[in-house]
Amino acid sequence: MTQQPDLLAEPSPAAQPVALVDLLDRLLGVGVVLAGDITISLAEVDLVRIKLHALIASVQPGMVE
């Protein structure tokens, strides 16, 4: 999992990778909402997040709950 970059610690914007969780904050949570012909409802997005938690917990066994 990509660590969250910090410009206050290391001011080199160009080289910074984006953490997946920060992307999902925006790509699932905000952004223009135009209903498409195929859309995922907010309820399903919540489901995605819950499943993500489970997935990440399963691939990072050392992580404390």
């Binding site: 953490a19 997946l20 709950e65």
Partner: protein, 256 residues
């Protein structure tokens, strides 16, 4: 079943034409193209509906690798477009069956899209997060061999620890409010996103602020200086600054 295709919509931009998107690559290495419609350009690429239809999405969204790849490609396309012109980024996975369905939607949302583009033109999004230190460990209970009064003493220690934690929580919440207010002074708009789950982000301590700030190009230096100053003057919190992002958090069609 033969592979039917749909149109995956990344962003709606103003002031470009489909020609400007030549060379931009979208999902599954398919070329990105623009659908020009009455002064707006929908930025799309074709996707297989086996993968991006209702059934496919339901299945694939549970696959972390799939989700990450799609999210990163979506972001890369949005960034490429935002570098060219004001662009309102869409949420992940907005898909139409054909160009006509897409044009109908652009007609329907035209006024709101134009307002969103007015709001974000010449502005970028910055992220500032604040973290309070982790809670102190709970006092350990007395063992069975401890003398008389050890139980009562433990309960007193525990009560005191709970109260200290509550006070610390109040303080870090007040600090988060203060940081948000100060940063918002240099932003055209701001909003607080839900604090991230530690299991997803892997951060230490408690996230007390997950702020998004829409900052005009001319105000960026001042905004960054403010963030640095707040970081210096509040060593009790850890502050994280990221950006610039395409204006995801400010292109929503509701009033911000």
């Amino acid at each position: 079943m033969s592979a039917r295709t749909g149109r995956y919509l990344y962003a709606v931009a103003r002031g470009i034409t489909s020609n400007d998107l030549t060379g931009v690559t979208g999902l599954r290495d398919r070329p990105v193209r623009g659908v020009d419609h009455q002064g707006l350009t929908a930025v799309i690429s074709d996707v297989d509906l086996d993968e991006f239809g209702t059934e496919g999405l339901r299945r694939n969204l549970e696959d972390l690798d799939w989700l990450e790849e799609v999210a990163r490609t979506h972001h890369a396309v949005v960034r490429a477009v935002a570098a060219l012109a004001p662009a309102a980024p869409l949420r992940l996975a907005t898909i139409y069956v054909d160009d006509d369905a897409l044009r109908n939607r652009l007609d329907e949302w035209r006024d709101a899209l134009l307002r969103a583009l007015d709001r974000i033109e010449g502005r970028m999004e910055w992220s500032v997060k604040a973290f309070a230190p982790a809670d102190e460990p709970e006092p350990s209970p007395p063992d069975a061999t401890a003398g008389e009064g050890a139980g009562a003493a433990y309960l007193r220690r525990r009560k005191a620890a709970v109260e200290r934690q509550r006070a610390a929580g109040d303080e870090s919440a007040a600090l988060a409010d203060h940081l948000h207010l100060e940063l918002s002074r240099h932003a055209a708009a701001s909003r607080r996103l839900a604090p991230q789950d530690r299991k997803l982000s892997g951060h230490e301590g408690t996230m007390t602020l997950n702020g998004a700030y829409l900052v005009a190009t001319a105000d960026v230096e001042e905004f960054l200086a403010t963030a640095r100053e707040l970081d210096r003057s509040h060593p009790e919190a850890r502050i994280n600054l990221q950006g610039p992002w395409p204006p995801y958090s400010f292109a929503t069609l509701e009033d911000p």
